[in-house]
Assembly symmetry: C2
Homo-oligomer: 218 residues x 2
């Protein structure tokens, strides 16, 4: 059994490791959690003693199989709750994160299975991120970053990389949300910005930063 705090560290490490694919440095964790490196070192020792991660001094942390499995249950809970907040309670998609950060630590497998059923077994949350099933399986669609998309190929927005309120509010303003169609009309070499047509409306410019944080599929 992990404490609330331990779960937060594990989840953060899992995300920083991009799903367990690379090792993570102490300072990255500290920056992500707004704590100090010394605190992170202590917590790393605890989590590695419990075998959720492995750790080699000065070289960083890797998530174990056991750690990944647990991290996926937290991710699952977070994304199911976000879905609930948006679909059932009518939250805006930029309002859900902080509440879901709390709800993801509620401990009841009965609850989470019933919530999953109530939402009709969603496979993606309101930001388009995949929801692991109860066995931790993720249904991954191949998605690409809008910045890399071919010109004049019609695509569909399927996720955002960045869940911050300012970004999501900007997206709402320009008419982008999950499921909306989008076509790159022109790529501006100078600054990396793109001219895009959203839902076949008249083309508008979006910045390179925005284009790097929107994910699309065919």
């Amino acid at each position: 059994m992990l404490s609330y705090t331990e779960e937060n560290y594990l989840k953060t490490i899992y995300h920083l490791s991009e799903g367990g694919h690379k090792s993570v440095l102490t300072n990255e964790i500290a920056a992500s959690l707004l704590t100090k490196a010394a605190t992170v070192t202590d917590m790393i020792k605890k989590l590695s003693l419990k075998e959720f991660i492995t750790y080699e001094k000065y070289y960083g942390v890797n998530v174990t199989k056991k750690g990944k499995a647990h991290a996926l249950t937290i991710v699952r809970k977070h994304r199911l709750w976000e879905t609930f907040l948006v679909e059932k309670l009518g939250f805006a998609w930029d309002e859900v994160h902080d509440v879901a950060e709390q709800l993801e630590h509620i401990n009841s497998s009965l609850l989470i299975e019933k919530l999953d059923a109530f939402l009709d077994y969603p496979t993606a949350d309101p930001h388009g991120h995949p929801i692991p099933d109860k066995h931790g399986k993720i249904k991954q669609e191949k998605q690409i970053v809008l910045k890399e998309a071919l010109v004049n190929k019609p695509l569909v927005v399927c996720a955002v990389r960045n869940g911050s309120s300012p970004f999501l509010q900007y997206l709402s303003k320009i008419g982008v949300s999950i499921g909306v169609s989008i076509t790159v009309r022109e790529r501006i070499e100078f600054d990396g910005s793109l001219e895009v047509s959203i839902q076949n409306k008249k083309p508008q410019l979006i910045s390179r930063e925005a284009a790097e944080n929107i994910l699309v599929k065919e």
Copy 2:
């Protein structure tokens, strides 16, 4: 801002004080929370410093106006979540308590107002306990203990005093739930048991203990 633990103490003290109407002793709190008296004394000092309770050494604790207001928000959250679990997720009424104990500490007034609306502003939870509104107002119906009810007067079950699983399962077995009609046919002086007719079905005997834990109204 109160910690998770402080909220649990405050809620327990509030309940033991019967809504702020009587003072509460250290040992009662310790028994209720399964902690030691020494621990309770420490927490009492903290809560009284923060002015949620008043405290006179060796004489017990009283809830302040501020403490009552905060306790009511916790009660409100607990009961709204219980209602959600039963009505929307299909929990049985004896399965909800532990989960609601966790959910009641989630901190988001937006969440709780939206949940309230989603449930269509319920005034009582699945055990028949009243749900305070957002201002802390409780809609109290006059209810009596079944044990004291008049013979042959048709009544409606409106709440249970005891939310334990064994008791709730026993009630389910004999066909009692909130809203069911019940009429006392005979009071057995010997042991305080009652012969009752539930939903006008053939009378059956229930024990004094049961009759003391079922609340009814006209």
